[in-house]
Symmetry: C2
């Protein structure tokens, strides 16, 4: 009975505006609830450690296009991106629950393929699949994942605790997953025009891997621990660097300065972007799905951070009133905007 | 890329067969994982108590018909049926996470209505909404709920621990939710033929309430505790009495005998079933969505059980080799079959 409601389209709010609107009046009541809505995961007291709980919905046609996405990779990625939310809290995952709704277009063998990918990812990261739900849908595939992770209370890192002058760091390199998607999209178009055409995916191994088989960065969580560095704030990059740093700034009530020349971009990402007439920095800022860790550390940790391979220092936090800026290669200062993937990037 | 897979339709396995197939090789690895797939909830160690985790997907057109289902009730019910899984473990819920995917047919106001129902249910049962995900879908509405509950380890009741000669008990009465659905379906047909027709729902208050606003039976959990009764096995009735008692029998490796004349059916359920030319016992056995608790107790608890209002003793457990039977009012013994709701009952 949705006819009687007045009509504000969902697009008017967008994903984050909608979450703010729908959750703004929550008052937490149970002492076991340490942190509710607003970070990569909720925090629950669990004896002498704390539990991180996160959930995600993946919807066919919105988050993936089944026409070119291998089912086993889809299963693997569905788990991996959820595990990444636990890495983003500086914690380790132990359990996962899977809900799956599939239309009659899907066969038993198709679901077995998806689950094979899920189990592969669970195995790789030492996670137990402990429950879930299997049901039908009228059209398409809907995957819902809940992940449970754990850490000592004092090790958990939130989005809201970055301080002015903290260094902004990112793991790995950015934009690859998006360029991998662009290549897959291009080959889909070729295939749709001529189903006999062979996909031309050679030379794109790295960026295809970035798109099809993302790696939650628990190695970075371990390296930070080994080097005795506790980030002051952290988030994972699912929607793009710009969107994520703005989440940290908003929730920490700070500003930031990023330097274009410091943003790590792989050569294959760079070259493919140029081939597609796209600006590599724009892709790195807004591409999303890289599942790298974006975090802030105290300035005094700089000497330790710079010894860790695969971490780049890309800027620093400011007071809130100074705003959020990118310093470009030609020394211009431009305001950072979250173009995220729902506004800027046309997905399948 | 589902075209390459060989083709076994999902319907060949059904929901439970599919879950068995997809989860049969799981080996649990983490010491915090106490119980995985196969009960109303997974069990996780959480300090000096244990945590119950359950998740459910609700899909438009499969689990609900938005044409006659009030959105606020839909939100309430989505939470309530998940809380019922925690009651079925003899535990209490504390947190919930909500994932929601909605097509552009849904307005902001529509989602606010759904969330209003969710918050009402959370408030009623003292549960914190701590996280989730809001995204778009190409068509329809998909709601995914994860619930976290807690109990002392020794209080948690599984499906798999019923013993021969245990008494089979059920709370409340059965079949009402299904007859409520039948009434709503009938009025929908009238409405579709003549949109000006007023729905004729008078006199059906109880069964409509059973369908639209189910109550997880935490009052029964409390009463059992107060009377010092620990069930030997328990499950909640979401798919129908027959389906659920067969789950207990299968997982406990036991048989059972139910007595038709002991099955509690409300007079309004009975009369409405007759009006629809349906057999009330069949509806009580297979209707589903009553969210009552079905549990077994030791024979020695009989004197205590019979003093508790709103609990009926409806049969007893047998050795596995004796099978599962219903003794009808005319003293015939007929094999129990799980007709559940996906096979027997045509849903919207």
């Amino acid at each position: 009975m949705i006819e009687n409601a007045t009509k504000t389209p969902l697009s008017e709010y967008g994903e984050f505006g909608l979450i703010d609107l729908l959750t703004k009046n929550i008052q937490l009541k149970n002492p076991s609830t340490i942190l509710g809505v607003g970070d990569d995961a909720a925090i629950i007291q669990a004896g002498d450690r704390q539990q991180l709980v996160s959930k995600d919905l993946l919807i066919e046609g919105v988050h993936f296009d089944i026409r070119y996405y291998p089912l086993k990779h889809l299963g693997y990625k569905a788990i991996a991106v959820n595990l990444s939310d636990i890495a983003a809290m500086n914690a380790k995952p132990e359990q996962i629950l899977v809900g799956i709704a599939a239309s009659s277009r899907y066969t038993v063998e198709a679901l077995e393929e998806i689950y094979a990918g899920m189990y592969l990812c669970c195995e790789h990261y030492g996670v137990d699949l402990v429950g879930g739900d299997t049901t039908s849908s009228l059209s398409g595939l809907c995957i819902s994942i809940t992940v449970l992770g754990y850490a000592k209370a004092e090790k958990i890192v939130r989005r809201s605790t970055a301080q002015t002058n903290d260094l902004i760091c990112v793991s790995g390199d950015l934009g690859g997953a998006y360029m991998g998607l662009m290549v897959l999209e291009r080959e889909k178009e070729v295939f749709l025009k001529d189903p006999k055409a062979q996909p031309d995916l050679e030379g794109f191994d790295y960026i295809l891997q970035r798109q099809l088989k993302p790696s939650p960065r628990f190695d970075i969580v371990d390296l930070l621990e080994e080097n005795n560095i506790l980030p002051t704030a952290m988030i994972d990059i699912s929607d793009g660097l710009a969107s994520e740093i703005l989440h940290i700034c908003k929730q920490s009530h700070k500003g930031c300065t990023l330097y274009e020349d410091k943003i790590p971009i792989d050569i294959q990402t760079n070259d493919t972007a140029m081939d597609f007439s796209l600006i590599p920095t724009t892709i790195a800022l807004n591409g999303g799905e890289d599942y790298e860790l974006l975090f802030t550390v105290k300035q005094s940790d700089y000497e330790k951070i710079k010894t860790i391979k695969d971490i780049s220092v890309i800027g620093h936090m400011n007071d809130e009133k100074e705003g959020c800026y990118l310093i470009t290669n030609d020394k211009k200062s431009i305001p950072l905007k979250a173009q995220g993937w729902d506004a800027y990037i046309k997905r399948p």
